[in-house]
């Protein structure tokens, strides 16, 4: 049999890929040896609230039932939490799935999409996967370049621009006024995808007021980070009702598991636990800064649950530090784009995990310098 079904030219042109190599894959390459400190994926090692765990355990026997495809209770609670209407909220299997749906809504093959060079790979994965043309704008220092993004949008007449505030991978942020001015300056026909996955960790004055009257802003948040539910896959997007309704035209309606809906609802109801987590994360950031300083390294200020640590030399050196940390069972990641690649990115974890990082870092630096 020589002939076979033909992939579309677009799909034919794409590589098989994984936007992030998971720690599990790295562990398999290590012969199955588990990491002792999992500090690379910006997961929240403080975990979900005990009430969330209890809710999940109670509901476990009920998973023979599909979850509500309209996510009604969860969306109602999110809308109340944000102070917006039900019609202003859509939910999905993580921010990742929602980003894919947004790309499908506004972009056709060849459409320019403005992003930051070195920004979130999964967004780029979706743009490329639907045939869009990435227009990358280099960071301005260690912050996304608002002026540069705006210039690129205007120059390309781009219908989509992606901005993360706070930012990943550098953990930097803009104040709310700067973001609002950016929104004001955007062409009315350009949709801003404002990824606020880390906003719960950020200074209050970095998060613009909620305003769902503007049809060209979609803001995304998640239960993966501050709420400690990365493994359950739930994100949400809010904005003008006219920009939210199209999600119902194309989403995977049953995509959010029944248990995820229950977990997210319980998480949202336990704001006291969230406040505790945010405080613990802030303390962990400080500690990573002290660990870096004790080793003669500089940590960038962070508005997230991770810290970018400048290894003080080039990207090849930082990569060696990362690898040496891995040999010492500490999993971290690092930015790869030029101008960022001298950093490693260390997620905040409980003290036990940061103890291992503190212990491994001097040895890793020594080995990297000798290597």
């Amino acid at each position: 049999m020589s002939k076979r079904p033909s992939l579309t030219p677009l799909i034919e042109s794409l590589p098989a890929t994984v936007p992030f190599v998971g720690p599990e894959a790295l562990e398999r390459r290590r012969g199955g040896l588990p990491f002792r400190a999992r500090l690379g994926a910006n997961e929240n090692g403080f975990g979900p609230s005990a009430r969330v765990v209890e809710a999940m355990r109670n509901a476990a026997p009920d998973v023979w039932m599909y979850g509500d495809p309209e996510n009604h209770e969860l969306k109602t609670a999110i809308a109340r939490h944000l102070g917006v209407a039900f019609e202003n909220v859509a939910a999905g299997e993580g921010v990742d799935a929602l980003l894919g749906l947004i790309v499908r809504q506004y972009m056709e093959p060849g459409t320019p999409v403005v992003v930051s060079l070195g920004g979130y790979p999964t967004f780029n994965f979706h743009v490329t996967g639907f045939g869009g043309r990435l227009v990358p704008v280099p960071y301005d220092g260690y912050r996304e370049n608002l002026e540069g993004l705006l210039d690129a949008v205007r120059r390309e007449n781009a219908p989509l621009v992606y901005l993360a505030n706070p930012d990943n991978p550098m953990a930097s942020w803009w104040d709310a006024g700067s973001i609002s001015a950016f929104i004001e300056a955007l062409p009315e026909t350009t949709m801003l995808i404002l990824d606020e996955a880390y906003c719960e960790f950020a200074p209050a004055d970095s998060v613009p007021p909620i305003d769902v009257n503007r049809p060209n802003v979609l803001r995304l948040r998640t239960f993966s980070k501050a709420y400690g539910l990365a493994g359950m896959r739930c994100g949400y997007v809010f904005g003008h009702a006219a920009a939210i309704e199209p999600f119902d035209r194309i989403r995977n309606h049953f995509g959010i598991t029944r248990l995820t809906q229950i977990a997210a609802l319980a998480a949202l109801e336990d704001q006291e636990y969230l406040r505790d987590t945010v405080a613990r994360v802030a303390a962990g950031r400080e500690r990573i800064g002290r660990i870096a300083a004790a080793n003669g390294l500089t940590a960038l200020p962070s508005a997230t649950n991770f810290v970018a640590v400048d290894c003080g030399a080039d990207g090849a050196f930082a990569l060696r530090v990362l690898q040496e940390l891995g040999k010492r069972d500490v999993f971290v990641r690092k930015p790869m784009a030029a101008g960022q690649d001298q950093y490693i990115r260390v997620s905040v974890g409980p003290d036990s995990a940061l103890d291992l990082f503190a212990e491994a870092l001097p040895e890793a630096l020594k080995a990297a310098r000798e290597g």
Copy 2:
């Protein structure tokens, strides 16, 4: 602000929709009154194995970690279960998500896609959502029309044809020989999407032998039905390695939750529980047949966990029966296509649920006849 970002013409043309209205939505319309018998969504009321529930409960505190984006352990276990290689298997957030990915791989706007009229709405949703042109082929009696599907494929030179065996919504099936002959007769350039979501319930001689050497067959199975995990969203597809690899180009890599991977793995390991479930479902089918007969109605033979019951009159009457069952707190669904619409579709459930159905049916029929 008068201007706004433009949806693509395709997305602009689509309606907001839900392929299935969930029982939760119906309950909300009933003022929040829950159904007492949930027999409409082909869920498996016998639930997952106790070992699955235990595995989920044990892992609940760990969901701060992302699941393995490569689904390595789960895919390894599925491959072993099927007797194929790791490279022959892809997994996704339910068969629904995988169907969307297949459509993206082989179809462009305007591409003809052959389906059965009255077949699985979510597949049609994806075809329409990506701009394909549905070519519907009426059933032959209460079975999908293999000859008709083949004729349509040839006439349209269609790159995709969808076939469910056993079938939904009629629960009918073809023997393995007929399916194999259909595959033999297909053009080499047409991909068969063989949906086997219900195959664990079906007679052994209705499931073709596993053969991953043919590049134009993708077979889909799920943990939602026989394994009782509808709410956890996990399906898989197997076939020729060259037809499996493209899923890695476009899938939502983190889409299957960590807990789902753990649950599916535990479910696969408990084949004894699966056999018990299948036996209980077979007994439940028989009982639905007896309940139908006791009311002067005819139930079709079924190879699934649901039974199509002929209400003995037209579609409008069957709809009234469904509504009257709903008033008596019994949730069922019904096919809507011409030639099938005189049926209601009743999922097998535990005896307590079928007791309620048995009690409600005579009253519902009486009310429908008077209505």
